[in-house]
Amino acid sequence: MTKLIVNDLHLQYGDNPILKGVSFELQPGEVVALLGASGSGKTTLLRAVAGLESPHQGCISIGGQSLYDAARGIDLPVEKRGLGLVFQSYALWPHKTVFDNVAYGLTLRGTSKQEIDDRVLAALKSLDLVHLAERFPNQLSGGQQQRVAIARALVYNPPVILLDEPLSNLDAKLREEARAWLRELIVTLKLSALCVTHDQTEAMAMADRILLLKNGRIEQEGRPEEMYGAPSTLYTAEFMGNNNRLQGRVTELRDGRALLEGPGWRCWGAVRGSLKMGDAAVGLIRLERVRLADGDGENRIAASLVTSMYLGDRWEYLFKPGENRLRAYGEHAIPANTPAWLELPVNDLWLFPSDG
């Protein structure tokens, strides 16, 4: 089996650096998500692996074969890399039928007519597209087009399949179903996949491992539960979930915990990163970890409710204690201006050095 290795990849457009030294490995049979905000370089990284962008430093290899190596002057053209890429817009050729779209990659490889027929039909069958084989792309729904795009990328059995925001063109409702379906497909076909997305939920659901990119560098990488449950930086923590943010100053330090103080409140939290006495710090807690308490106590903040919003499966409350805005989830509607106490459990309140 083949392993994709990207090492110290640099890329710039003119004077504008996009990738500033990215390294990662994709193990056979693994799904890695490239996650990041827009402009983080995630799509550029994917396109550089495909050969559609030209890096100027670093190397990319697959199964020991160099695709790109700046030091050795190797830059394999796109068509020689033999990878599969599913475009965000699907990029189906409008002048070819579904069958011909899928068959093209095999035709280019000089596969015999009979074998093309067999393999394209097998691919269409596994994606439930056989009845659409003679249609043209404009006669298909978005979800069908996506499946054709995937069939086209899989049919010649590429060692790695690259997916560029595969779900972003689908309706919100369809997207969650497609996510489950795509994960199932990748797992049953034992594919190695590199998948770009800007949606952290999508990344966590689809991938075995997540690379979070920030300004052309990898901010943190790890399994989804590590990324969500144990972020090592403030950026990762904020990116991966819905959070409350408290700005304050460290007034006490003890056993990996610190006391964060702001005007009218003080909470103990778990220190992540390095903090000293008197440092400005940010306390971060996931919305679902905030608990409503019925009286004053340790790590509790008094606040009155501004409004509650109905989300269907639960309610979201908005509190405004002093300068802060705190949100929490609950099961019932609460009338506005109800006085309440919010408990921030010590281990769930992460303290990071202030980002200025």
Partner: protein, 580 residues
């Protein structure tokens, strides 16, 4: 199962194993650019070289020197031609830019009556040969033209109340016939300009007129500027109108001065012609560069466009009839009068004051045209050049466009500038330059007596136009469609062949049709290439006009209009956009 069937073959494309260097170096790309460079620079280089000689380049006793320039600069006719060119060019800008801009606004934003059928009509003058229009004005509005005599009789005047042979008349006619050029650019700018920016001004309290003046006009100003420079440039280039209309009173412009130089000295004065040509290019080339700059800044402006919603037509109230009458009058003047004049003249035996129209009708002129072998040849050649030559030209333009397609490198930049050069060379000069190429380059002499020579010249002269047609088709192709082909294993050349070209198929057919019409319309480029065998309608018209065969000119002109009309009818039938 699927996974098992596909694991048997290697993932790489079959052609794997070529060396890196070979896959990167695209032989055909280099060849296409090289051939184009020769076709562009050889003629122009020949003109510049010839202008520094004291005699025609094939003469044995030639010497290097600037005598040719000294001679033309000492010739008062040269200076009067230069002054006339400037006056006509400026007059054209003054007339065409405001009118074209206003017309674009009326068509794109208001409830002007009859917009649906006006739209294609406005562009028709672009496709009618200016030479034919000029003949039309002579026979319709000249001293003994149809309309002149009718107006005289109707009003009981002793003299025709206008003179179409004066310099100002030429400028007015040239200005009015170039309105469509301005209209094209300003209307596409207006269409690209999201109507939301105008609606925002309305909501803020601006009246429709204020919106037009404070928002629409400034935002389309770059396009108007571009159109203005384009018209100025075309003003220095015009040949047919001043050739026909300037003759009776002896008004020369640069292009006609060059053309008349031969007659003036009675010997082949190639070095003098080359010197004039260099002077003319010295004016037009900077204008072309300026146009290029302006187009870029205009594009930047369009990039800020808002959301393109369908704009609500601005009600003009009773003014809409006033506006409609002006637009209608313009159409009558630029299209109906000259074309009806030519049509009428081609079917009357003779014409003058007191001739009853009913008695003079005849089809003899057409019979005569078809009795003369060189005229029949001209018609056949014109059709061949338009249909087959046009198709071949589109293939050439496509090859060159693909060489520059989605590659930002030195070669693409070179193509960019390469295309500009022939743009700056007026057709009559280009024809002259190609004549010299065919005389000068060994082995090409035989080409001179066939239409291949004319085809090469036409193709190079219209290079920029053709490239624009093809690239506007190419722009429609989403880059991912090509990238997807590359990813599944197609080389660059193969992607072009199997993905890009099939995708722009209809764009290419439309380009073929437009190039057909342009080639039918073209006349000046063929003038110097006219030889037994290489006749085309355009060049025969110039030569017949010089010989005073007005009957044949009228009949041949009508045939020419008919050929263009066929192209137009097909274009309109299939909804081909007449512009990009």
């Amino acid at each position: 199962m699927y996974t098992e069937t596909i694991q048997s073959t290697s993932p790489e494309p079959a052609s794997y194993g070529w060396t890196q260097w070979w896959s990167r170096f695209n032989l055909s790309r280099g060849a296409v650019v090289f051939i184009t460079a020769i076709a562009v620079f050889l003629p122009i280089g020949l003109i510049i070289w010839q202008s520094t000689l004291s005699a025609p380049f094939f003469a044995p006793n030639k010497q290097y020197g600037l005598d040719a320039y000294r001679f033309i600069f000492a010739d008062p006719d040269f200076w009067s031609a230069a002054k006339n060119s400037l006056a006509i060019a400026i007059g054209m800008v003054v007339i065409a830019v405001p009118f074209g801009g206003a017309l674009a606004f009326l068509m794109a934003r208001t409830d002007l009556p009859g917009r649906r059928w006006l739209e294609p009509m406005i562009l028709v003058p672009v496709f009618v040969s200016p030479l034919v229009l000029a003949f039309g004005y002579v026979v319709a509005m000249g001293p003994v033209g149809f309309y002149s005599i009718w107006v005289k009789q109707l009003l009981g005047l002793s003299q025709v109340p206008w003179n179409i042979y004066s310099l100002s008349s030429i400028a007015v006619i040239a200005g009015l016939t170039h309105v469509p050029h301005v209209y094209l650019y300003s209307s596409s700018a207006l269409r690209n300009l999201g109507s939301d920016v105008e609606e925002a001004a309305r909501v803020s309290g601006a009246s429709p007129l204020r919106v037009a003046l404070n928002v629409s006009l400034p935002m389309t100003a770059p396009s108007l500027m571009f159109a203005g420079v384009l018209v100025l440039f075309l003003g220095f280039e015009i040949f047919g109108l001043p050739l026909v209309l300037g003759d009776p009173e002896g008004h020369l412009v640069m292009a006609t001065y060059l053309y008349k130089l031969t007659n003036k000295l009675g010997i082949p004065s190639y070095h003098l012609m080359a010197a004039v040509a260099v002077c003319l290019i010295a004016i037009t080339f900077p204008l072309v560069l300026l146009q290029r700059r302006l187009l870029r800044s205009a594009a930047r402006f369009v990039a800020m466009k808002g959301k393109a919603t369908r704009p609500k037509a601005l009600p003009l109230g009773i003014w809409k009839w006033f506006a409609a009458i002006i637009v209608f009058a313009w159409l009558v003047f630029t299209l109906v009068i000259p074309i009806s004049g030519i049509a009428l003249r081609s079917v009357v035996e003779y014409w003058g004051e007191g001739v009853p129209l009913g008695e003079a009708l005849t089809l003899n002129h057409f019979k005569e045209v078809f009795a003369q072998p060189n005229l029949v040849r001209a018609i056949v050649n014109s059709m061949l050049i338009g249909v087959i030559g046009g198709g071949l030209a589109v293939i050439c333009y496509t090859a060159l466009s693909l060489a520059a397609h989605r590659k930002q490198d030195g070669v693409t930049r070179a193509i960019d500038y390469l295309v500009l050069v022939p743009r700056a060379v007026p057709g009559v000069l280009a024809g002259l330059a190609f004549l010299w190429v065919f005389l000068f380059v060994p082995g090409l002499k035989e080409l001179r007596n066939g239409i291949v020579s004319v085809w090469i010249a036409y193709t190079v002269v219209w290079l920029a136009y053709g490239m624009r047609l093809i690239s506007s088709a190419l722009i429609q192709v989403a880059p991912e469609l090509e990238e997807a082909a590359r990813v599944v294993g197609a080389s660059r050349a193969r992607t072009h062949r199997q993905i890009t070209v099939p995708l722009i198929k209809y764009g290419l057919l439309a380009s073929w049709l437009l190039v057909f019409m342009i080639f039918e319309r073209e006349y000046s480029t063929g003038v110097y290439l006219l030889a037994p065998g290489s006749e085309v309608i355009g060049s025969m018209l110039v030569s017949l006009w010089a010989a005073g065969a007005i009957d044949l000119v009228a009949a041949l002109s009508l045939i020419n209009i008919g050929l263009v009309a066929i192209g137009l009818a097909v274009a309109l039938r299939f909804g081909v956009k007449l512009h990009d």
